[in-house]
Protein backbone atom coordinates (compact mmCIF):
# COMPACT_ATOMS: atom_id res chain seq x y z
CA UNK A 1 0.00 0.00 0.00
CA UNK A 2 1.48 3.37 -0.97
CA UNK A 3 1.64 6.34 1.36
CA UNK A 4 -0.98 7.96 -0.81
CA UNK A 5 -3.31 5.00 -0.36
CA UNK A 6 -2.66 4.95 3.37
CA UNK A 7 -3.50 8.62 3.70
CA UNK A 8 -6.63 8.20 1.58
CA UNK A 9 -7.83 5.34 3.74
CA UNK A 10 -6.98 7.06 7.02
CA UNK A 11 -8.78 10.24 5.95
CA UNK A 12 -11.81 8.29 4.81
CA UNK A 13 -12.07 6.31 8.02
CA UNK A 14 -11.58 9.40 10.17
CA UNK A 15 -14.13 11.44 8.24
CA UNK A 16 -16.71 8.69 7.99
CA UNK A 17 -16.49 8.03 11.72
CA UNK A 18 -17.87 11.51 12.23
CA UNK A 19 -21.64 11.82 12.56
CA UNK A 20 -22.62 15.34 11.47
CA UNK A 21 -25.74 16.88 12.95
CA UNK A 22 -28.86 16.76 10.83
CA UNK A 23 -28.98 19.42 8.14
CA UNK A 24 -31.10 22.44 8.98
CA UNK A 25 -31.59 25.51 6.85
CA UNK A 26 -32.59 27.67 9.84
CA UNK A 27 -29.10 28.52 11.10
CA UNK A 28 -27.96 29.30 7.56
CA UNK A 29 -30.76 31.77 7.00
CA UNK A 30 -30.23 33.29 10.45
CA UNK A 31 -26.49 33.65 9.82
CA UNK A 32 -27.13 35.14 6.38
CA UNK A 33 -29.57 37.66 7.89
CA UNK A 34 -27.12 38.56 10.65
CA UNK A 35 -24.36 38.99 8.08
CA UNK A 36 -26.57 41.21 5.95
CA UNK A 37 -27.41 43.28 9.03
CA UNK A 38 -23.74 43.70 9.86
CA UNK A 39 -23.04 44.81 6.30
CA UNK A 40 -25.90 47.32 6.44
CA UNK A 41 -24.69 48.57 9.83
CA UNK A 42 -21.21 49.08 8.42
CA UNK A 43 -22.66 51.00 5.49
CA UNK A 44 -24.69 53.19 7.86
CA UNK A 45 -21.60 53.81 10.00
CA UNK A 46 -19.60 54.67 6.93
CA UNK A 47 -22.32 57.01 5.69
CA UNK A 48 -22.41 58.76 9.07
CA UNK A 49 -18.64 59.05 9.11
CA UNK A 50 -18.63 60.52 5.60
CA UNK A 51 -21.45 62.89 6.47
CA UNK A 52 -19.51 64.14 9.49
CA UNK A 53 -16.14 64.20 7.79
CA UNK A 54 -17.30 66.07 4.68
CA UNK A 55 -18.19 69.41 6.34
CA UNK A 56 -15.13 69.13 8.54
CA UNK A 57 -12.93 68.66 5.51
CA UNK A 58 -14.69 71.48 3.70
CA UNK A 59 -14.15 73.89 6.56
CA UNK A 60 -10.56 72.76 6.93
CA UNK A 61 -9.92 73.40 3.26
CA UNK A 62 -11.65 76.77 3.22
CA UNK A 63 -10.15 78.09 6.43
CA UNK A 64 -6.94 76.31 7.30
CA UNK A 65 -5.14 77.30 10.45
CA UNK A 66 -5.94 77.50 14.12
CA UNK A 67 -9.24 79.29 13.59
CA UNK A 68 -10.66 76.42 11.59
CA UNK A 69 -10.64 74.16 14.56
CA UNK A 70 -12.81 76.49 16.57
CA UNK A 71 -15.20 76.96 13.65
CA UNK A 72 -15.60 73.23 13.19
CA UNK A 73 -16.12 72.60 16.85
CA UNK A 74 -18.97 75.06 16.87
CA UNK A 75 -20.59 74.38 13.52
CA UNK A 76 -20.02 70.71 12.92
CA UNK A 77 -22.86 68.33 13.74
CA UNK A 78 -22.77 67.02 17.26
CA UNK A 79 -21.56 63.44 17.36
CA UNK A 80 -22.37 61.39 20.43
CA UNK A 81 -18.87 60.67 21.71
CA UNK A 82 -19.29 57.32 23.44
CA UNK A 83 -21.55 55.85 20.77
CA UNK A 84 -20.35 57.37 17.56
CA UNK A 85 -22.92 55.65 15.40
CA UNK A 86 -26.63 55.67 15.77
CA UNK A 87 -29.52 54.98 13.50
CA UNK A 88 -33.14 55.96 13.25
CA UNK A 89 -35.34 53.51 15.09
CA UNK A 90 -37.26 52.92 11.89
CA UNK A 91 -34.13 51.74 10.10
CA UNK A 92 -33.91 47.99 9.52
CA UNK A 93 -30.20 48.00 10.40
CA UNK A 94 -29.11 47.87 14.00
CA UNK A 95 -26.01 49.35 15.57
CA UNK A 96 -23.47 46.71 16.47
CA UNK A 97 -22.73 46.17 20.13
CA UNK A 98 -19.32 45.46 21.56
CA UNK A 99 -19.46 42.37 23.77
CA UNK A 100 -17.00 42.08 26.65
CA UNK A 101 -16.60 38.90 28.65
CA UNK A 102 -15.44 39.92 32.11
CA UNK A 103 -14.25 38.02 35.14
CA UNK A 104 -16.23 37.67 38.32
CA UNK A 105 -16.08 40.85 40.45
CA UNK A 106 -13.89 42.67 37.93
CA UNK A 107 -14.55 46.40 37.94
CA UNK A 108 -15.05 47.55 34.38
CA UNK A 109 -14.64 51.27 33.73
CA UNK A 110 -17.62 52.60 31.82
CA UNK A 111 -16.61 56.23 31.55
CA UNK A 112 -17.15 59.37 33.61
CA UNK A 113 -15.40 57.72 36.58
CA UNK A 114 -18.02 55.01 36.89
CA UNK A 115 -17.69 51.25 36.78
CA UNK A 116 -19.72 48.06 36.58
CA UNK A 117 -18.96 44.88 38.50
CA UNK A 118 -20.56 41.52 37.72
CA UNK A 119 -20.81 38.46 39.93
CA UNK A 120 -22.84 35.30 39.55
CA UNK A 121 -25.58 36.76 41.79
CA UNK A 122 -25.61 40.49 41.11
CA UNK A 123 -24.68 43.33 38.81
CA UNK A 124 -23.33 46.40 40.58
CA UNK A 125 -22.71 49.97 39.48
CA UNK A 126 -20.55 52.44 41.34
CA UNK A 127 -18.02 55.25 41.17
CA UNK A 128 -18.57 58.80 40.09
CA UNK A 129 -19.01 59.89 43.69
CA UNK A 130 -21.99 57.59 44.22
CA UNK A 131 -22.35 54.59 46.46
CA UNK A 132 -22.44 51.15 44.87
CA UNK A 133 -25.86 50.00 43.70
CA UNK A 134 -26.51 46.35 42.94
CA UNK A 135 -29.27 44.49 41.15
CA UNK A 136 -29.81 40.84 42.01
CA UNK A 137 -29.62 38.58 39.00
CA UNK A 138 -30.51 35.22 40.49
CA UNK A 139 -33.09 35.71 43.23
CA UNK A 140 -36.13 35.98 40.97
CA UNK A 141 -36.63 39.64 41.73
CA UNK A 142 -36.63 40.31 38.00
CA UNK A 143 -38.71 38.04 35.80
CA UNK A 144 -36.83 35.70 33.49
CA UNK A 145 -36.51 36.70 29.83
CA UNK A 146 -36.96 40.38 30.63
CA UNK A 147 -34.81 43.49 30.54
CA UNK A 148 -34.75 46.26 33.12
CA UNK A 149 -32.93 49.54 32.97
CA UNK A 150 -31.10 51.85 35.34
CA UNK A 151 -30.77 55.43 34.14
CA UNK A 152 -28.47 58.01 35.64
CA UNK A 153 -26.59 60.95 34.28
CA UNK A 154 -24.30 63.87 34.70
CA UNK A 155 -23.69 67.13 32.91
CA UNK A 156 -22.12 65.28 29.96
CA UNK A 157 -24.90 62.87 29.17
CA UNK A 158 -27.21 60.12 30.30
CA UNK A 159 -26.04 56.66 31.27
CA UNK A 160 -28.26 53.71 30.40
CA UNK A 161 -27.47 50.40 32.13
CA UNK A 162 -29.83 47.65 30.98
CA UNK A 163 -29.99 44.29 32.74
CA UNK A 164 -31.22 41.29 30.78
CA UNK A 165 -32.05 38.10 32.67
CA UNK A 166 -32.92 34.98 30.73
CA UNK A 167 -31.67 31.84 29.11
CA UNK A 168 -30.71 33.53 25.85
CA UNK A 169 -27.22 34.71 24.99
CA UNK A 170 -27.36 38.47 24.54
CA UNK A 171 -25.19 39.44 21.59
CA UNK A 172 -26.52 42.95 21.05
CA UNK A 173 -28.42 45.44 23.17
CA UNK A 174 -29.71 48.77 22.00
CA UNK A 175 -31.39 51.71 23.66
CA UNK A 176 -33.59 54.04 21.70
CA UNK A 177 -33.91 57.61 22.89
CA UNK A 178 -35.90 60.28 21.08
CA UNK A 179 -36.07 58.18 17.93
CA UNK A 180 -32.37 57.40 17.81
CA UNK A 181 -30.98 53.97 18.51
CA UNK A 182 -27.65 53.56 20.28
CA UNK A 183 -25.56 50.44 20.76
CA UNK A 184 -24.97 49.27 24.31
CA UNK A 185 -21.58 47.81 25.19
CA UNK A 186 -22.57 44.40 26.48
CA UNK A 187 -20.90 42.94 29.57
CA UNK A 188 -21.29 39.33 30.57
CA UNK A 189 -19.52 36.66 32.56
CA UNK A 190 -17.95 33.64 30.83
CA UNK A 191 -20.13 30.68 30.00
CA UNK A 192 -23.86 30.95 30.55
CA UNK A 193 -24.40 33.18 33.58
CA UNK A 194 -28.10 33.66 32.79
CA UNK A 195 -27.85 37.40 32.49
CA UNK A 196 -26.08 40.22 30.69
CA UNK A 197 -25.75 43.90 31.34
CA UNK A 198 -24.03 46.79 29.64
CA UNK A 199 -23.82 50.51 29.31
CA UNK A 200 -24.36 53.31 26.85
CA UNK A 201 -23.74 57.00 27.30
CA UNK A 202 -26.20 59.08 25.35
CA UNK A 203 -25.81 62.81 24.88
CA UNK A 204 -28.42 65.01 26.49
CA UNK A 205 -30.99 64.10 29.08
CA UNK A 206 -33.43 61.26 29.25
CA UNK A 207 -37.12 61.70 28.59
CA UNK A 208 -39.85 60.99 26.10
CA UNK A 209 -40.19 57.67 24.32
CA UNK A 210 -37.35 55.34 25.28
CA UNK A 211 -36.77 51.63 24.98
CA UNK A 212 -34.17 48.92 25.47
CA UNK A 213 -34.01 45.82 23.29
CA UNK A 214 -31.89 42.69 23.66
CA UNK A 215 -30.99 40.52 20.66
CA UNK A 216 -29.29 37.19 20.28
CA UNK A 217 -26.54 36.49 17.75
CA UNK A 218 -29.09 35.66 15.08
CA UNK A 219 -30.83 39.01 15.49
CA UNK A 220 -33.88 37.60 17.28
CA UNK A 221 -35.34 39.78 20.04
CA UNK A 222 -34.81 38.19 23.46
CA UNK A 223 -36.47 40.93 25.50
CA UNK A 224 -37.73 44.48 25.10
CA UNK A 225 -38.78 47.19 27.48
CA UNK A 226 -40.34 50.49 26.45
CA UNK A 227 -41.52 53.41 28.52
CA UNK A 228 -42.44 57.05 28.24
Amino acid sequence: MTTEDMVRRALREEAEALAPSAWSAGPIHAAARARAQRRRARRVALAVAVAVAAPVAAVAVLAPGPGAVRTVSVDAPTVPAPSATHSDSSSPSLPVSRVLIVTDSQKVAIGHGQWLRLTAAESCQGGGGQSEQCSATANGNQAPDSVSLRISGDSDGTLFVPLYIGSGQAARITVTVAGRTYPVTVLTLPGHPGYATGYAWVPGGAGGQESATVYDAGGAVLARFAWG
Binding site: T3, E14, A15, E16, L18, A25, I28, R39, P190
Partner: protein, 199 residues
Protein backbone atom coordinates in the same frame (compact mmCIF):
# COMPACT_ATOMS: atom_id res chain seq x y z
CA UNK B 1 -13.82 25.30 -13.09
CA UNK B 2 -12.58 28.49 -14.65
CA UNK B 3 -15.52 30.43 -13.29
CA UNK B 4 -14.51 29.88 -9.68
CA UNK B 5 -14.05 33.17 -7.87
CA UNK B 6 -13.34 34.23 -4.36
CA UNK B 7 -16.73 34.63 -2.64
CA UNK B 8 -15.33 37.43 -0.49
CA UNK B 9 -14.59 39.46 -3.60
CA UNK B 10 -17.24 38.34 -6.02
CA UNK B 11 -19.84 40.96 -5.20
CA UNK B 12 -22.43 38.25 -5.48
CA UNK B 13 -23.98 39.05 -2.14
CA UNK B 14 -25.89 42.08 -3.27
CA UNK B 15 -28.92 40.32 -4.57
CA UNK B 16 -30.98 41.40 -1.52
CA UNK B 17 -34.59 40.44 -1.90
CA UNK B 18 -33.76 38.94 -5.23
CA UNK B 19 -31.82 36.21 -3.50
CA UNK B 20 -33.60 33.48 -5.32
CA UNK B 21 -33.07 29.99 -4.11
CA UNK B 22 -33.36 28.75 -7.63
CA UNK B 23 -30.74 29.48 -10.18
CA UNK B 24 -31.48 29.24 -13.86
CA UNK B 25 -30.10 25.75 -13.70
CA UNK B 26 -32.90 24.94 -11.30
CA UNK B 27 -30.41 24.01 -8.59
CA UNK B 28 -32.20 24.71 -5.34
CA UNK B 29 -29.96 26.04 -2.56
CA UNK B 30 -31.52 24.06 0.21
CA UNK B 31 -31.49 20.85 -1.82
CA UNK B 32 -27.86 21.48 -2.72
CA UNK B 33 -26.87 22.27 0.86
CA UNK B 34 -28.78 19.33 2.27
CA UNK B 35 -27.11 16.98 -0.17
CA UNK B 36 -23.62 18.35 0.52
CA UNK B 37 -23.94 19.06 4.24
CA UNK B 38 -22.47 15.85 5.64
CA UNK B 39 -19.64 15.74 3.15
CA UNK B 40 -18.75 19.39 3.72
CA UNK B 41 -18.82 18.95 7.51
CA UNK B 42 -16.47 15.99 7.20
CA UNK B 43 -14.14 18.01 4.99
CA UNK B 44 -14.28 20.88 7.45
CA UNK B 45 -13.59 18.45 10.28
CA UNK B 46 -10.40 17.30 8.58
CA UNK B 47 -9.45 20.95 8.08
CA UNK B 48 -10.21 22.10 11.63
CA UNK B 49 -9.94 18.95 13.74
CA UNK B 50 -13.06 19.83 15.70
CA UNK B 51 -16.57 18.58 15.06
CA UNK B 52 -18.46 21.63 16.29
CA UNK B 53 -16.04 24.05 14.72
CA UNK B 54 -16.48 22.14 11.47
CA UNK B 55 -20.25 22.54 11.56
CA UNK B 56 -19.92 26.23 12.40
CA UNK B 57 -17.50 26.64 9.52
CA UNK B 58 -19.81 24.97 7.03
CA UNK B 59 -22.82 26.92 8.28
CA UNK B 60 -21.05 30.24 7.99
CA UNK B 61 -19.73 29.29 4.56
CA UNK B 62 -23.17 28.36 3.29
CA UNK B 63 -24.52 31.56 4.81
CA UNK B 64 -21.99 33.52 2.74
CA UNK B 65 -22.84 31.58 -0.38
CA UNK B 66 -26.60 31.75 0.03
CA UNK B 67 -27.23 35.41 -0.93
CA UNK B 68 -25.46 34.93 -4.24
CA UNK B 69 -26.88 31.51 -4.96
CA UNK B 70 -28.86 32.61 -7.99
CA UNK B 71 -25.56 33.39 -9.70
CA UNK B 72 -23.43 30.66 -8.14
CA UNK B 73 -25.85 27.92 -9.09
CA UNK B 74 -25.37 28.86 -12.75
CA UNK B 75 -21.61 28.25 -12.59
CA UNK B 76 -20.29 25.14 -14.27
CA UNK B 77 -19.27 23.72 -10.94
CA UNK B 78 -20.95 25.28 -7.91
CA UNK B 79 -19.18 22.69 -5.77
CA UNK B 80 -15.83 24.18 -6.64
CA UNK B 81 -17.09 27.61 -5.61
CA UNK B 82 -18.34 26.26 -2.29
CA UNK B 83 -15.05 24.45 -1.69
CA UNK B 84 -13.17 27.62 -2.31
CA UNK B 85 -15.47 29.53 0.03
CA UNK B 86 -14.94 26.87 2.69
CA UNK B 87 -11.17 27.00 2.37
CA UNK B 88 -11.09 30.81 2.46
CA UNK B 89 -13.46 30.90 5.40
CA UNK B 90 -11.28 28.43 7.26
CA UNK B 91 -8.22 30.52 6.47
CA UNK B 92 -9.92 33.62 7.89
CA UNK B 93 -11.02 31.66 10.95
CA UNK B 94 -7.46 30.47 11.47
CA UNK B 95 -6.08 34.00 11.24
CA UNK B 96 -8.75 35.39 13.57
CA UNK B 97 -8.15 32.69 16.15
CA UNK B 98 -4.45 33.50 16.22
CA UNK B 99 -5.13 37.21 16.74
CA UNK B 100 -7.84 36.61 19.30
CA UNK B 101 -5.46 34.74 21.55
CA UNK B 102 -3.39 37.88 21.86
CA UNK B 103 -5.96 40.65 21.88
CA UNK B 104 -9.32 39.53 23.15
CA UNK B 105 -10.78 40.14 26.56
CA UNK B 106 -12.81 36.99 26.07
CA UNK B 107 -12.07 34.21 28.51
CA UNK B 108 -12.12 30.57 27.52
CA UNK B 109 -15.18 28.65 28.51
CA UNK B 110 -14.58 26.00 31.15
CA UNK B 111 -13.76 22.60 29.71
CA UNK B 112 -16.90 20.49 29.41
CA UNK B 113 -16.27 17.08 30.87
CA UNK B 114 -18.97 15.56 28.73
CA UNK B 115 -18.50 17.83 25.77
CA UNK B 116 -16.31 17.58 22.72
CA UNK B 117 -13.10 15.68 22.72
CA UNK B 118 -10.05 17.38 24.17
CA UNK B 119 -6.84 17.76 22.26
CA UNK B 120 -5.42 14.71 24.01
CA UNK B 121 -8.45 12.67 23.06
CA UNK B 122 -8.39 13.64 19.41
CA UNK B 123 -7.46 10.97 16.98
CA UNK B 124 -3.91 10.45 15.96
CA UNK B 125 -4.77 11.40 12.41
CA UNK B 126 -6.18 14.75 13.45
CA UNK B 127 -3.00 15.35 15.43
CA UNK B 128 -0.98 14.44 12.38
CA UNK B 129 -2.99 16.83 10.19
CA UNK B 130 -2.58 19.57 12.80
CA UNK B 131 1.15 19.31 12.28
CA UNK B 132 0.83 20.39 8.66
CA UNK B 133 0.82 24.05 7.62
CA UNK B 134 -2.72 25.20 6.73
CA UNK B 135 -2.21 25.19 2.97
CA UNK B 136 -0.54 21.81 2.99
CA UNK B 137 -3.33 20.44 5.12
CA UNK B 138 -5.90 21.81 2.69
CA UNK B 139 -4.06 20.22 -0.23
CA UNK B 140 -3.94 16.84 1.50
CA UNK B 141 -7.63 16.99 2.46
CA UNK B 142 -8.83 18.12 -0.96
CA UNK B 143 -6.56 15.77 -2.85
CA UNK B 144 -6.94 12.59 -0.81
CA UNK B 145 -10.30 12.98 0.90
CA UNK B 146 -12.25 14.96 -1.67
CA UNK B 147 -10.40 13.16 -4.48
CA UNK B 148 -9.99 16.35 -6.47
CA UNK B 149 -7.42 16.40 -9.25
CA UNK B 150 -4.30 18.54 -8.96
CA UNK B 151 -5.86 20.99 -11.40
CA UNK B 152 -9.07 21.23 -9.38
CA UNK B 153 -7.19 21.69 -6.11
CA UNK B 154 -5.09 24.39 -7.75
CA UNK B 155 -8.23 26.24 -8.85
CA UNK B 156 -9.79 25.98 -5.40
CA UNK B 157 -6.65 27.22 -3.67
CA UNK B 158 -5.72 29.76 -6.32
CA UNK B 159 -2.25 28.36 -6.98
CA UNK B 160 -0.51 26.37 -9.69
CA UNK B 161 -0.87 22.61 -10.18
CA UNK B 162 2.87 22.33 -9.65
CA UNK B 163 2.53 23.95 -6.27
CA UNK B 164 -0.25 21.53 -5.38
CA UNK B 165 1.94 18.64 -6.42
CA UNK B 166 4.85 19.76 -4.27
CA UNK B 167 2.63 20.58 -1.28
CA UNK B 168 0.97 17.17 -1.52
CA UNK B 169 4.32 15.45 -1.75
CA UNK B 170 5.64 17.26 1.30
CA UNK B 171 2.43 16.57 3.18
CA UNK B 172 2.66 12.87 2.43
CA UNK B 173 6.26 12.79 3.49
CA UNK B 174 5.39 14.35 6.86
CA UNK B 175 2.45 12.05 7.40
CA UNK B 176 4.28 8.89 6.39
CA UNK B 177 6.27 8.55 9.57
CA UNK B 178 3.45 9.57 11.88
CA UNK B 179 1.98 6.92 14.21
CA UNK B 180 -1.44 7.78 12.76
CA UNK B 181 -0.58 5.77 9.67
CA UNK B 182 1.20 2.95 11.45
CA UNK B 183 -1.78 0.66 11.40
CA UNK B 184 -2.09 1.08 7.63
CA UNK B 185 1.55 0.43 6.89
CA UNK B 186 2.50 -2.79 5.10
CA UNK B 187 4.85 -5.16 6.83
CA UNK B 188 7.48 -4.85 4.13
CA UNK B 189 9.55 -1.67 4.10
CA UNK B 190 7.87 0.90 1.94
CA UNK B 191 9.71 1.91 -1.16
CA UNK B 192 7.04 3.76 -3.03
CA UNK B 193 7.37 7.26 -1.68
CA UNK B 194 9.00 8.64 -4.75
CA UNK B 195 6.09 7.46 -6.82
CA UNK B 196 3.52 8.35 -4.21
CA UNK B 197 2.98 11.89 -5.34
CA UNK B 198 -0.34 12.94 -6.78
CA UNK B 199 -0.97 11.64 -10.21
Amino acid sequence: VGAVRDPEQSGLEQSGQGQSRLGQSGLDFEAFAAARWSRLVRTAYLLTGDHHEAEDLVQSTLAKVFPGWATISRLDEPDAYVHRALINNNRSRYRRSRVRQLLTARLPEPVQEDGGRTVEQRSLLIQALAGLPPKQRAVVVLRYWEDLSEQQVAEVLGCSPGNVKSQASRGLRKLRGHPALASYAPYAPERDLEGAGPR
